[in-house]
C-alpha cells in the first residue's frame, strides 16, 4: 500500500497528464458523425505541432535552469533566427544558403555524432563501473575514445551527404537554412555564455541584456523599416520549405519530430554522459563542483550555446509554419518556456529535475490550451486559467499543497490548539505523526 502510494506520488506529473487527457476527452465537443474531436488523431498531432516551438526552447531552458542559471534571451534569439531564415529564403541568399549549407550540414552532423558518441562511451564506461559496485575507474582505450566516435561521425557525414545528393537542388537550401540560422543564433548564445563565465555576470542580467539587444539586432538585420519579412511572395524556396511543415510519413508533424528528437537526445546526454552529471553537480552546489575539479565554465558555456541553438531551430520551424520571419516572433516565449520547465518539476534553484518532466510540462500546457480553445472560451479567461494552472501544478509538484492540506486537517481535528513553536519541546503525538507524514511525502519525491 505504502509502495503504491509512493509510486503514485513519484509519478504524479504523469497522472496529471492522464487526468487532463481524460477531462479533455470527456468535455470535448463531437463531430456530427459522433467522433470525439479532442481524441481525434488530427487534434492530438495538432497539439504536438503547436507545442514544438515552445518545447524546443523549453528543452534548452531546462539545461540552463538545471545549472542554476536562466536564459531570458531565447525569445529574442528565436526572433533573430526567424529573420535570418526568412531573409535567406526570400533574398538571393537562398542560393548561397544551398552552396554553404550542404558542406556545413555534413560537417556539423558528422562532428555532432562523433561528439555524442564520445560522450555516450564515456558515460557507459562510468555507468558500468557504478553498477558493478566498485569504485574503479574504467578508462577508455584509445580506440574507444577516438576511433569509434570518429567512424560513427564519418558514417553520419556520408549518410547525410548521400541523402542530400539524392534530393532535388531546392531541398539543399532547406538544409542550409536549418544549419545557418541556428548557427548564427548560437553566436548570440555564445556571447551570453562568455558574459556569464568570463565576465562573471549573473545569468539573469547577461541574458536580460541579450533579450533587449537581440531584438534590436533582429530588427537591424531585417532592415529597420521592416516589421515583418514575408516568405510568401513567389519564391521556389517556399515550396521546398513545405517539408518542414508537412507530416513525416503522414504520421507525425515534422516540427514535433524535431521536438521529440531534442528531448530524447538531450535527455540521453543529461542521463548518460559526463556533461549531464556535471550539469546536475553544478546546479546542486557550484562551489563543491568547482572544488571537485569540474570544468564549470565549460559546462555553463555549453548549456547557453545549446539553449540558443534550440531557439534558433525553433525559429526556422516558426518560419516554416507561419511563412514569415519577424523580430518580435518570440516575445514572451521565454516565460512560456520557463513555465513549462517549472511545471515539469525542474527547480529554479538548479540541480533538480529533468527533461522528462519538461516534456510532460510542455504537453500539459499545450493540451490545456487545446481544451480551452476547443471549448471556445474567451481569450482573456484563457489567460487567467493558464495562470491558475501554473500555480496549481507547481503547488502539487512542490508538495506545498500537501502541507497546506495537512495543516488544515490538523486544525480541523482540533488536536493542535497550541502554537507549533511552543508545542515543539513537548512533541504531542499528533504533531509527531503529522511531521512523520510530511517526511514521508518528502522522501517520496
Amino acid at each position: 500500500m505504502k509502495a503504491l502510494f509512493r509510486l503514485l506520488s513519484r509519478t504524479k506529473l504523469y497522472w496529471g497528464l492522464l487526468l487532463i487527457c481524460l477531462i479533455g476527452a470527456v468535455v470535448s465537443p463531437h463531430t456530427s458523425s459522433g467522433h470525439n474531436i479532442f481524441l481525434s488523431y488530427g487534434n492530438l498531432t495538432d497539439v504536438l505541432r503547436q507545442v514544438s516551438i515552445t518545447g524546443l526552447v523549453a528543452t534548452g531552458m531546462t539545461m540552463v535552469i538545471l545549472l542554476g542559471g536562466i536564459d531570458l534571451s531565447v525569445g529574442s534569439v528565436m526572433g533573430f533566427s526567424t529573420v535570418i531564415c526568412a531573409m535567406l529564403l526570400t533574398k538571393p541568399g537562398w542560393t548561397s544558403a544551398s552552396v554553404l549549407g550542404v558542406p556545413a550540414a555534413i560537417l556539423v552532423s558528422g562532428a555532432a555524432v562523433a561528439l555524442a558518441a564520445r560522450f555516450v562511451f564515456a558515460g557507459l564506461a562510468r555507468g558500468r563501473d557504478v553498477s558493478a559496485g566498485r569504485r574503479r575507474e574504467i578508462s577508455l582505450t584509445h580506440w574507444q575514445r577516438t576511433g569509434i566516435p570518429g567512424l560513427l561521425g564519418l558514417a553520419a557525414a556520408i549518410a547525410i551527404g548521400w541523402w542530400t545528393m539524392g534530393q532535388v537542388p531546392a531541398k539543399f537550401g532547406v538544409l542550409g537554412v536549418l544549419v545557418i540560422a541556428p548557427c548564427l543564433a548560437m553566436v548570440l548564445g555564445g556571447i551570453n555564455g562568455l558574459l556569464i563565465v568570463a565576465g562573471r555576470l549573473q545569468p539573469f542580467i547577461a541574458t536580460l541584456a541579450m533579450m533587449v539587444s537581440a531584438l534590436g539586432i533582429a530588427r537591424l538585420t531585417a532592415g529597420s523599416d521592416n516589421a515583418v519579412v514575408p516568405v510568401y511572395t513567389g519564391t521556389n524556396a517556399t515550396e521546398a520549405f513545405e517539408l518542414l511543415r508537412s507530416m513525416l510519413w503522414g504520421v507525425l508533424p515534422v516540427p514535433s519530430v524535431f521536438f521529440l528528437a531534442a528531448i530524447c537526445l538531450f535527455g540521453a546526454i543529461l542521463r548518460f554522459t559526463t556533461f549531464g552529471r556535471y550539469a546536475y553537480a553544478i546546479g546542486g552546489n557550484i562551489e563543491a563542483a568547482k572544488l571537485s575539479g569540474i570544468k564549470v565554465a565549460q559546462v555553463q558555456l555549453t548549456a547557453y550555446l545549446l539553449s540558443s541553438l534550440l531557439a534558433g531551430i525553433a525559429g526556422v520551424l516558426f518560419v516554416a509554419q507561419y511563412r514569415q520571419g519577424k523580430p518580435d516572433a518570440g516575445t514572451g516565449l521565454e516565460l512560456d518556456a520557463i513555465a513549462a520547465v517549472v511545471i515539469g518539476g525542474t527547480s529554479l534553484m538548479g540541480g533538480r529535475g529533468g527533461l522528462a518532466g519538461t516534456f510532460v510540462g510542455v504537453l500539459i500546457f499545450g493540451l490545456l490550451s487545446d481544451i480551452l480553445q476547443l471549448q471556445n472560451i474567451d481569450s482573456n479567461v484563457q489567460l487567467v486559467m493558464k495562470g491558475l494552472i501554473i500555480v496549481c501544478t507547481v503547488l502539487v509538484q512542490e508538495q506545498n499543497l500537501g502541507q497546506l492540506v495537512a495543516r488544515w486537517r490538523f486544525r480541523r481535528s482540533g488536536e493542535a490548539q497550541a502554537d507549533p513553536r511552543t508545542a515543539e519541546p513537548h512533541r504531542p503525538p499528533s504533531a509527531a505523526k503529522a511531521e512523520f507524514a510530511r517526511e514521508d511525502l518528502d522522501e517520496a519525491s
Binding site: 474531436i37 495538432d46 503547436q50 507561419y322 480553445q373 476547443l374 471556445n376 474567451d378 481569450s379
Partner: protein
Amino acid sequence: MTIYLPAGWTPARAAGRSKVGFSQCTTLEPWRVQFNKDIQAEAKNHPDIDLIITDGQDKTEKQVADCDNLIVQQVNVLLVSPKESAGLTGVVEKAIDAKIPVIVLDRNVDTKRITQFIGGDNVAIGKAAGEHAVKLLGGPGKAAGNVVEIWGGMGTQPAHDRHDGFHAFTDKEPGIKYLLNNQSGDWKQDKAYDIMTTALRNNEKIDMVYGHNDPMAYGAYLAAKDAGRDKDIKFIIGIDGLPDEGVTWVSKGQLTATFLYATPGAEGLRQAAKLLKGEKLKPVITLPTMLITKENASEILKKNG
C-alpha cells in the same frame, strides 16, 4: 555660432525652413511601417520642411519622452500618433501650452485643445465589411452561413470598433451563426493560424472568416490551406489593405476582400504644411475607406509600383 543665438532662433528657422516632429508609437507592425513610409514620401514634396520621426517602441513612457524631446527641440508642428489616449494626453497639452500646434493621428487623445485629429473610422470600416459580408452570404434577409471572427487585441479600441461595426449589419440576419466566442489573434498572423486550426477541427462547416486585420485573415487562410479546406471557405475578409499584404493576397485570390484603412501619414504632413503657411485647419478629418476585391486589386498594386 548657434549657441549664442537666443532660444528659439535655430538655424533651421533662420534659413526659412521649418521643423515638423512626428512621434510614432511603434514600428513593429507593418501598418505602422507603411505609415512612416507614407509620411516620408510626402515630406519629399515639401522641401522647406525638416521632418523628424521618433519611434516610441510600443511603450507609452518612451513615446512621452519622445514628445518631450521634440518640444525641447522647438518643432513648429508636432504630429503624434499615440500608443494610447490617456498616457499621451498630458504631454500633448504640454506642447499646446508651449505654443506648438499638435495634429493627432489615428488614435485620439483625451483633450479638446488639439489643433486637428486625422484618422480612419473603424466603425464605418467594420460596417462596410459587415455589409459586404451579408451580400456575399446571400443578401439582406436571406444571408446564411457560419462565420468565424478573429479579434485583434481584446483591449484595443480599433478591435471593438471593427467588431461593433461588423455586427451592426450581420446581427440583423438570423441565418448567420458565429462560431467563435471572442478569440483574440492579437493582430498577429501566427496566433490567428493557431486559432483557426482549432476552429477547423471543431467545425465541419465554416463559410466565412472575418479577420480584424489582413495578417490575421491571411493566417486563417494558411491554416485552412494546410488543412486542405481553403476551397470550402469562400470568404476571408480582412482590414488594412496594405499594398505588400492585403492587396497582394486579394489579387492572388487568397483573401476575398479587404478594406483600406489608410494611414494618416501623408495627409498629416499636408495639413502641417498648410498650417505652416498660415491656413486654418478643420478640427477633424476622417479618412475614407475603400473595398478592395480581386477586380481592383491589381490596379492598386500598379499604382503603388
